[in-house]
Amino acid sequence: MTATPKIELRKVCKAFGSKVILHDLDLSVKEGESLVVIGGSGTGKSVMLKCILGLLEPDSGDILIDGQSVIGLSTKAREKVLLKTGMLFQYAALFDSLPVWENVAFGLLQAHGMPRKEAKKIAIEKLGLVGLGAEMADRNPAEMSVGMQKRVGLARAIAADPEIIFFDEPTTGLDPIMGDVIDSLIRDCTRRLGATTLTISHDMDGAQVIGDTIALLYKGSVVWSGPADTIKTCGNPYVEQFVRGDIDGPIKLEVLKP
């Protein structure tokens, strides 16, 4: 363990036109830690993730990975930083023009320049880790259920044994049992790798399974963060409202009450 956080956000701001999404967001994830960021829809969770990955540029503030700023990096330098990371997208974002094994091995083939035979072997190995057999390797992603696609997405995220893994609402669109399976797979795979993880989620039960620490995002800032097992007893009014799912409380939804 080192004192330098693996991921650190310092006073990050991002707005689209007049709509402020992230406002002076401070966040840090220690090496080997699993942080789950929870919050309602439109609170800036996905934007935060996209800013860390360089898919969006923050308006101000700084984002550091391993103590190095990743803001304003050249494309090549960013690709080098992203070699350390893996990402599971909300709807898996599998390449439908490629078979399952090539999806899993994509980073190994394209970014690491690994020979196809070796990459396929690793892909099948990773598919095994997420509970999918070798017979799935040559199938097309479109032939699979959403749950299976998520597993393939997870296999792709861990294929290159990354130091950091991001999960964007990993259980969205799944039934509770499959959601539980995916949460357990995420926990087991990331612990086996010893990776640092940052997950964004709405799912309170899943957040406690995956996370060591939980942070609640509201209006683009962290309003509470603490150990995952204290979330139901912390006494923070924002957290209490979010956990109970109440309409009344400090969290104001931008919708009209019926």
């Binding site: 990955l53 690709e79 990402m87 974002a93 599998l94 394209q110 970014a111 792709r156």
Partner: protein, 260 residues
């Protein structure tokens, strides 16, 4: 009321200029990636097949019937002043300089430009392009460069084949229905044909190929909002390709034709 009218014009003008700026930036970035390695050879070869080989039937059919119709129309017009012997020359020059490149460009824009926009647009709205970036793969190099290079290279070949098929179509109609002597028709076809007639058509074809692939990629890359966004991107890709092909055709003709 008057103020609102000018404000509306201003908004349209500003959004038009913003679009021009975005397209210019996209073009510059695309061109830069076309000359800087790494290149994805297997993807390039796949696009050669998609854009070139699979467009052959539609381009061939278009050229064949255009050549046949051209022979009939020119015969009908030229017979009014006893200039029927000009039919083979006008057919071949009309095809090589103008009709084959423009019609091939438009057909490929309809077939390939729409497919490119739909494929890349779907990748955009399903986060596949973001996934490429997170896997340390440059989406421009992976998606745009192979398509642009393949279109620029294959369209001249398609047009060359279209020239041959179109002339053959004119030959068939002229010799089978209009009573032309086959030997004389072929002699007249090649007697006044110059290398620059063919080359100017091929240059136009390369430019049209660039336009088709660029517009397909640009509109696909900038599609938003799900199925409706992808549909809009596809329509915009085809319409903008058509318009740009016809506009650039005029300027290319001015540049490639000997002016009085």
């Amino acid at each position: 009321m008057e103020w609102n009218f000018f404000a509306a014009i201003g908004r349209v003008f500003i959004s038009f200029m913003a679009a021009v700026g975005r397209i210019t930036k996209f073009t510059i970035v695309s061109l830069r990636h076309c000359i800087i390695p790494p290149f994805y050879l297997s993807l390039f070869l796949r696009q050669l097949m998609n854009i070139g080989y699979y467009s052959l039937p539609v381009v061939g059919m278009t050229a064949l019937f255009t050549g046949m119709v051209l022979a009939l129309q020119i015969y009908d017009g030229s017979s009014r002043f006893n200039a029927e012997s000009a039919v083979p020359t006008i057919v071949v020059i009309g095809l090589t300089r103008e009709l084959s490149p423009v019609l091939s460009g438009l057909m490929v824009a309809g077939r390939v430009g729409a497919a490119i926009a739909a494929e890349i647009g779907t990748m955009r709205v399903t986060e596949q392009i973001d996934a490429l970036a997170t896997l340390s793969t440059n989406p421009f190099k992976y998606l745009v460069t192979p398509r642009i290079l393949a279109a620029v290279i294959t369209l001249p070949f398609l047009v060359l084949l279209g020239d041959i098929i179109g002339v053959a179509g004119g030959f068939l109609v002229a010799t089978e229905s209009l009573g032309f002597n086959p030997g004389n028709y072929l002699t007249n076809t090649f007697e006044f044909l110059q290398v620059r007639d063919v080359v100017s058509g091929l240059v136009k074809a390369a430019v049209f190929g660039f336009i088709v692939a660029l517009m397909g990629c640009y509109h696909g890359f900038h599609s938003v909002g799900g199925a409706q966004g992808v549909g809009k991107a596809t329509t915009n890709a085809v319409v903008s390709s058509f318009v740009l092909i016809l506009i650039s055709d005029y300027f290319l003709t001015v540049m490639l034709t000997v002016q009085p």
